[in-house]
């Protein structure tokens, strides 16, 4: 009860002290405001990057495994991977036979070609050779027309399904279905248009809207059948059984590749988690560095507060003397000044947060899907109070140790 009255009194004093020196208080607070804006914006930007990244890799699907010749993220010696054999359509067929637990298996191959419709030409378009299972393992669906069917694959038909951006650039307002486009030197009939999957390009990742899907059989027919880049995309029965399923998949692949127990895998399993982990590793460091740099501005703000607290203690030496003479204890004086410094910083933190909300809105509108989470708010406010206490503790300690007789005599 007693300390409650003292804290209430401290609040009273802090409010009075700041009000008595408005300009000084404002300038001191400014340092903290800038620091908090910098720190909070760094955190929200990092969050935004993370959101954007998750958004872009979510197209892959969390229950999908890619069996590939090389890992997406290289770790270790590149030469261990270089001599690996490509995967083949045969591997895929065997896998489908040996791994009935898989919900879908889609062999995929890739090539980059220029495409042409009438006089319009687009360069460097990713062409994916796939089966009708493509639609089962990816999260996308055709918006218009149809997707590939097993007949297309079986009879190596020259049909294609185009991405939203390709339609936009090649056809504008023309209905693309049943039009013939030229992929490389071959004509393909457009049978469907994929829905927009969002700009998934991140750190140079694939843009799913700028792709064309054709039957894998047609790809081998038109663009060569041997030594192709090749993935087998496998959809697990459920996200929960991913790790067991991955283990089974590796086992079957080793059988298919006829590896003896002493030999290492000569293929790689890639999945969304691999990317997520790589991202987290890299971004963890980047964000940490960002926070350290922005913290410096907060630190400078804190020094400003400490400076002003020293001035405040000196100015109010007599007041401290009076308070001590009529019964304020050391602790009471200490709390009074700590309260003052942390109030300045807390107010700075609140204003800083408000401004950071604005900055985040801007980032949101133009750059990234950033947002200020309750955690960030809590962290920012705790940091402000912490800075207040840290920068107030030395001046407050000095005030609390003042000799009342000398303090009363101070002019």
């Amino acid at each position: 009860m007693k300390s409650f009255h003292e804290i209430l009194e401290s609040f009273h004093i802090a409010y009075g002290a700041v009000r008595a020196n408005k300009v000084r208080g404002m300038l001191t607070t400014l340092g903290i405001i800038i620091g908090i804006v910098a720190v909070v914006t760094t955190m929200t930007a990092a969050n935004g990057l993370g959101n954007r990244f998750k958004e872009s890799i979510s197209v892959i699907g969390s229950d999908v495994l890619f069996v590939s010749r090389t890992p997406w993220i290289f770790t270790g010696n590149f030469f261990d991977f270089r001599n690996r054999e490509n995967l083949t359509l045969k591997d895929s067929e065997k896998l489908e036979h040996q791994l009935p637990a898989a919900r879908a298996i889609d062999p995929r191959s890739y090539t980059t070609q220029s495409i042409k419709y009438r006089s319009k030409q687009l360069e460097n378009i990713t062409i994916i050779g796939a089966t009708n299972n493509y639609i089962l393992v990816s999260n996308a669906a055709p918006e218009y027309g149809r997707f590939l069917i097993s007949n297309d694959i079986q009879y190596k038909k020259n049909v294609c399904v185009i991405g939203a951006e390709i339609k936009e650039q090649l056809f504008k307002d023309v209905d693309p279905v049943n039009k013939k486009i030229k992929i490389g030197r071959h004509f393909f009939l457009v049978v469907g248009l994929m829905e927009k999957q969002g700009s998934a390009s991140f750190f140079g990742g694939p843009n799913f809207d700028r792709q064309i899907v054709i039957p894998i059989s047609s790809m081998m027919k038109c663009f060569g059948g041997t030594n192709r880049p090749f993935d087998i995309v496998v959809k697990a029965p459920s996200t929960e059984e991913m790790s067991d399923f991955e283990y089974a998949l590796i086992g079957e692949m080793r059988k298919i590749r006829k590896l003896t127990p002493s030999e290492r895998d000569n293929f790689s399993i890639n999945k969304m988690d691999t990317l997520m982990n790589a991202y987290n590793n890299v971004m963890g460091v980047v964000v940490l560095i960002g926070l350290i740099i922005t913290s410096i501005s907060l630190f400078v703000g804190g020094i400003g507060v400490m400076n002003i607290m020293f001035v405040s203690v000196t100015e109010r030496t007599r007041e401290i003397g009076i308070r001590k003479a009529i019964g304020a204890k050391k602790k009471t004086i200490l709390i009074q000044f700590l309260f003052e410094s942390s109030s300045i910083c807390l107010v700075g933190g609140l204003i800083g947060l408000l401004l950071a909300f604005g900055v985040t809105k801007l980032i949101n509108a133009f750059l990234l899907p950033a947002s200020i989470s309750p955690t960030i708010v809590a962290v920012a406010l705790s940091i402000s109070i912490l800075v207040g206490i840290l920068s107030g503790v030395i001046p407050a300690y000095r005030a609390s140790r003042l000799n009342p007789i000398e303090a009363l005599r101070y002019e």
Binding site: E6, G16, E319, R323, A325, I326, K329, K330, T332, L408
Partner: protein, 231 residues
């Protein structure tokens, strides 16, 4: 008994020199006494006042205030004694400039942890005793010197202390206002308070019933004021 000091000495170090401000003072003061401590500057008057007010500790000797030996207490215990047992009235008033009259008077009770309703009641009573009820919301800067000293007296009274310690309470006031202030002290004494005046002015000291004169850190004389006992 209000307080008792036994063989109190106080020595300071001033650079390399050691100064003896008090050189062995023993005295008893009963409840409801009205005492003046007098002496020329350098006599140890201020040191005496600081020790009696628990702002400073004696170098040796004992000080019993309301039956507790305060000479051995630490800083925080002394702060509590100042809060509970002593009411200060200073020459320079020493009010908080940014706080209004009410808050200045209320402050000792804030530090003793009283509830705000109780504080309000007691502060209003004390302010009424010094006749400033209509100035409750004024800042010290909006008051005259005499009014400020009344606020200080109200603040000194409010925790119902064992002694009220007034250090040159009229030193910054003109003589008419000074007399007004002194009449308040007279009144408080009649109401049962123990009052210690520290002063070098004879006129002021004559209000007291007992006058102790200090010289060179020793008691030179300790006499009853005949003015009050002649009749």
């Amino acid at each position: 008994m209000a307080f008792e000091i036994k063989k109190v000495t106080k020595t300071y170090k001033m650079g390399s020199e050691i100064v003896s401000a008090l050189r062995g003072i023993t005295m008893e003061v009963g409840n409801n006494e009205y005492l003046a401590i007098m002496g020329p500057s350098g006599s140890g008057k201020s040191t005496m006042m600081n020790i009696l007010g628990c702002l400073d500790k004696p170098s040796s000797g004992a000080y019993f205030l309301a039956d507790r030996d305060v000479s051995k207490m630490n800083d925080d215990q002394l702060a509590e004694v100042r809060n509970q047992k002593i009411g200060f009235v200073f020459q320079t008033f020493n009010l908080l400039p940014r706080a209004d009259v009410f808050h200045n008077v209320e402050l000792p009770m804030v530090y003793s942890g009283m509830s705000s309703s109780k504080r309000r009641k007691l502060a209003e009573e004390a302010i009424e005793k010094v006749g400033l009820t209509d100035r409750m919301k004024h800042k010290p800067s909006e008051l005259s010197g005499g009014q400020r000293q009344r606020v200080a007296i109200a603040r000194a009274l409010v925790n119902n202390p064992s002694i009220i310690l007034a250090d040159e309470p009229t030193g910054n006031l003109d003589s008419a206002t000074g007399e007004e202030i002194m009449s308040i002290f007279d009144h408080l004494h009649r109401a049962g308070n123990t009052i210690i005046l520290v002063t070098h002015e004879n006129d002021i000291a004559m209000h007291a019933h007992r006058i102790v004169r200090l010289k060179d850190g020793l008691i030179e004389s300790d006499l009853l004021n005949q003015k009050h006992f002649a009749a």
